[in-house]
Symmetry: C2
Subunit: 219 residues, 2 copies
C-alpha cells in the first residue's frame, strides 16, 4: 500500500476520484440521516460503487468513518479561522470557547462523531486540535497570567467547553442559555488572572454581563 508510482496517471486519478466520491457520499448521508443512517450499502448507491470498492480503499467501515472525521476536523479548524481573534491571550481563549460551542451546536452529528466515539481512540486530527488549544493556553502562561500548569489548565478548559457543548447538543440547552457564559467564565476566571493593564475594570462581577440582550430567555 502506498507505493508511490512515479506517475499517478489517469488510472490513479480515477481511483482518487472514486475515493473522493465515497467520502462525499458518506458525509452527505451522515448529515442527512445521522450516524445510524450511514451504511455501506447506502454509500454505495449514492457514490455509484459497490461494497468491495469501499473496502479496498478504506479497509473497513470504522476506517472510513475515521476519514470522515478527519474532514470534520478540517471544518472544525476552519471555524476558528477567517475571523480575527482578540489579541489578548485570555480573550482569545474565550473567543475559542465560543467558536467551539458554535461549531458543536451547528454540527451536532459531526461533533458526536468527533468527540463522543464509543471506542475513543483519538484521531491524529483530534490530537492536532487539542495541541492548538494547548498552544492558546501556553500563550496565557507566557504572559504570566496562567494560574495552573499548562497541561492541567488545558484539560480543565477542554472539559468545560466539552461539557457545555455536549449538553447543548443533547437539546437540554438553547444556544443562548446563560449557563453557557456562566460555565465559560467560571473556568476562565479560575485559570487566569486579569492583565495588569486592564486594572481599571479590576474585578468586575465575576460573571460576564456585558452582552446586551441575552436576558429575555427564561428557562
Amino acid at each position: 500500500m502506498g507505493a508511490p508510482s512515479p506517475t499517478p496517471g489517469p488510472r490513479a486519478a480515477g481511483s482518487e476520484a472514486t475515493r473522493r466520491a465515497i467520502l462525499d457520499a458518506a458525509e452527505e448521508l451522515l448529515a442527512s440521516r445521522g450516524e445510524d443512517g450511514l451504511s455501506i450499502r447506502e454509500i454505495c448507491v449514492l457514490a455509484g460503487v459497490t461494497p468491495p470498492t469501499i473496502y479496498h480503499h478504506f479497509g473497513d467501515k470504522a476506517a472510513l468513518v475515521d476519514r470522515v472525521v478527519d474532514d470534520c476536523f478540517a471544518a472544525f479548524d476552519r471555524a476558528f479561522e477567517g475571523r480575527t481573534p482578540p489579541v489578548d491571550p485570555v480573550e482569545r481563549l474565550r473567543f475559542g470557547f465560543d467558536r467551539y460551542v458554535e461549531y458543536g451546536a451547528t454540527h451536532a452529528v459531526h461533533y458526536r462523531l468527533m468527540f463522543q466515539r464509543p471506542h475513543g481512540r483519538p484521531t491524529p486530527a483530534g490530537l492536532a486540535s487539542y495541541d492548538r488549544l494547548r498552544r492558546m493556553v501556553r500563550a496565557i502562561d507566557d504572559a504570566g497570567r496562567l494560574l495552573a500548569p499548562v497541561e492541567d489548565a488545558t484539560a480543565a478548559f477542554w472539559s468545560s467547553v466539552h461539557g457545555v457543548t455536549s449538553l447543548l447538543i443533547s437539546g437540554f440547552w438553547t444556544r443562548e442559555a446563560p449557563a453557557i457564559a456562566l460555565a465559560r467564565d467560571a473556568i476562565l476566571s479560575q485559570l487566569t488572572r486579569p492583565s495588569a493593564k486592564s486594572k481599571k475594570v479590576k474585578q468586575q462581577k465575576p460573571m460576564q454581563r456585558k452582552t446586551k440582550g441575552e436576558r429575555h430567555g427564561g428557562t
Copy 2:
C-alpha cells in the same frame, strides 16, 4: 393493553420472572461486552427465551435499553446514599461532584448509555436525577450563597461535572488528574460565595495550589 387482571396469579408471576431474567441478562451482557455487544439474540441465549418474548415484554430494543437505563439510574442514585454528605450545602455539592465522577469512572458503559444517548430523549429517571441536583443547588440559594439563578447554576454545574466525566471515560484523563479538582473548584467558586462563618480563610488564592510536586509531567 394494560387491562389489569383481577388476580395476577402464578402465570403473571412467571411472566414477571421472565421479564426480570431478560433485564438481568441484558445488564450482564452490557457490562461484559459493551453497548455494541448487546444484541437481542445474545440476550435470548443468556436469558433462555426467544426473540418474540422480548418484543412482547418490551416492545423493541430501544425500550428494553430504556428499562436497563432505569436500573442504571437506580444504581447511580445509590452512589450518593450510604455515605454521609457534608452539612454545608456548598460542600455537599462538591461531594456530589466527586460521587458523580466516581460513578462515571467506574461505570463507563452505563454512563454513556445514560448521558450520551444519540437519540437523547431524557428518561424520567434521568429527569429525577437532575431534579435532585437542582435541589442541592437550591439549598445553596436558600443559604443566600448562590451567585446565579438556580436554573442557570444547576445547568452550569451539570455541564462541568459531565464534561469532566466524559473526558475521564474517554481515557483522556486518569482519575487523579489535577484538572478534575481544577474544573470542580472553578465552577463552585464561580457559582457560590463562601459562608460567613468561614471568613478566616477568606479569599484564598482562587486556585488550589496545595499539591506539592505536580510539575514533572511534561507532554
